[in-house]
Symmetry: C2
Subunit: 203 residues, 2 copies
């Protein structure tokens, strides 16, 4: 007898469907500090405040940052993968990015649902950021499970692990070796067709 449970897939965005925004801003502006991630600075607030200070010190305006973001494209094959997945199960993107950064990329992905945070912009200056909710990825998974969905989650890095733990099933996509070896309970893959099979079974 088939399960009566309806499934829903949640995906991390940067590294899974799109490039890393801060890396792209670092390359464009030449500010090496912006290459730092939560792996270098585990305190996200310290990291973001540092990013804002570095941008201020270099006189980089929001217009410039948004030009970088608008120049980004989804990863090769990401759009086709997403379309195929959406035709099989409802899909939600969960990212600790910001609405301002997300919009140009979501436009290219056909406006899937993206739940994320927001930036505070004042006079073309990136002034601050607002986390909508701490640990929002795991809490979103909890919410969809409370709505009686069986949730399968895809992530690539440490900040996805509470999301994978909250889900009914988790998959690592293009995760670095240390993440794969620390979390051997999750199947891992690097190609979108494998990911589709892991998420929904062979069609």
């Amino acid at each position: 007898m088939p399960s009566t449970h309806q499934s829903l897939a949640v995906l991390d965005v940067e590294g899974v469907l799109t490039p890393e925004v801060w890396i792209a801003v670092a390359e464009r502006t030449g500010i090496d500090f912006l290459r730092r991630t939560t792996r270098d600075e585990p305190d996200y607030d310290v990291l973001m405040k540092g990013r804002i200070e570095a941008l201020d010190a270099a006189g980089v305006r929001m217009t410039t940052i948004m030009e970088v973001v608008q120049g980004l494209a989804p990863l090769d094959g990401a759009l086709g993968f997403l379309r195929e997945l959406q035709s099989r199960v409802p899909v939600v993107l969960l990212s600790d990015t910001f609405e301002q950064f997300g919009r140009p990329l979501m436009a290219q992905l056909g406006w899937p649902l993206l739940l994320c945070h927001t930036l505070v912009v004042e006079d073309d200056r990136l002034a601050d950021y607002r986390l909508r909710l701490p640990d929002q990825k795991a809490k979103a998974v909890d919410a969809f499970r409370s709505l009686n969905y069986r949730v399968v989650a895809v992530g690539d890095s440490y900040n996805d692990m509470t999301m994978l733990a909250a889900a009914d099933a988790g998959v690592l996509f293009r995760a670095p070796a240390n993440v794969r070896s620390e979390y051997p309970q999750y199947p891992a893959c690097t190609a979108y067709d494998e990911l589709l099979d892991l998420l929904t079974g062979k069609p």
Copy 2:
């Protein structure tokens, strides 16, 4: 000072973005019973069991029903409205339809997130249905509010009213006169450009 709250819009589907599926099936099959709605039979389970019996009695197979659904198109202007709204706020479609009926229409709308129910199909016969969750529209609104979104909801009929009541703000779209007069607390409109303004303010 601008609100730090991020907004999210939830929309009913049939009557707001697409035609009514059961009405279309009634027209194609000539089974007048399928024109009955929850206004004629408030007990949804009795209504659905009656629909299944009527289809069985007329020997209508799932293939025929799906041909009808696949022949439907979104309402005039719905796709443009949805695209514009998605470029401003995250959008979720909440419907008491079924995944099987939703898919051909979501394909035409670019695969927005649709939360709904599912049908049980056996040997090309519509055998039963599974409600994912009772009162799922209002519960989805509660869930998104618990994720710290300010939720604005759009509906057109009685079965949307718990969803509108749960939301931070509600709007009636193309609602019949009796719904509008019973729920005067909600602004009402009939054109997509007015609806955009009501949901997100003038751009």
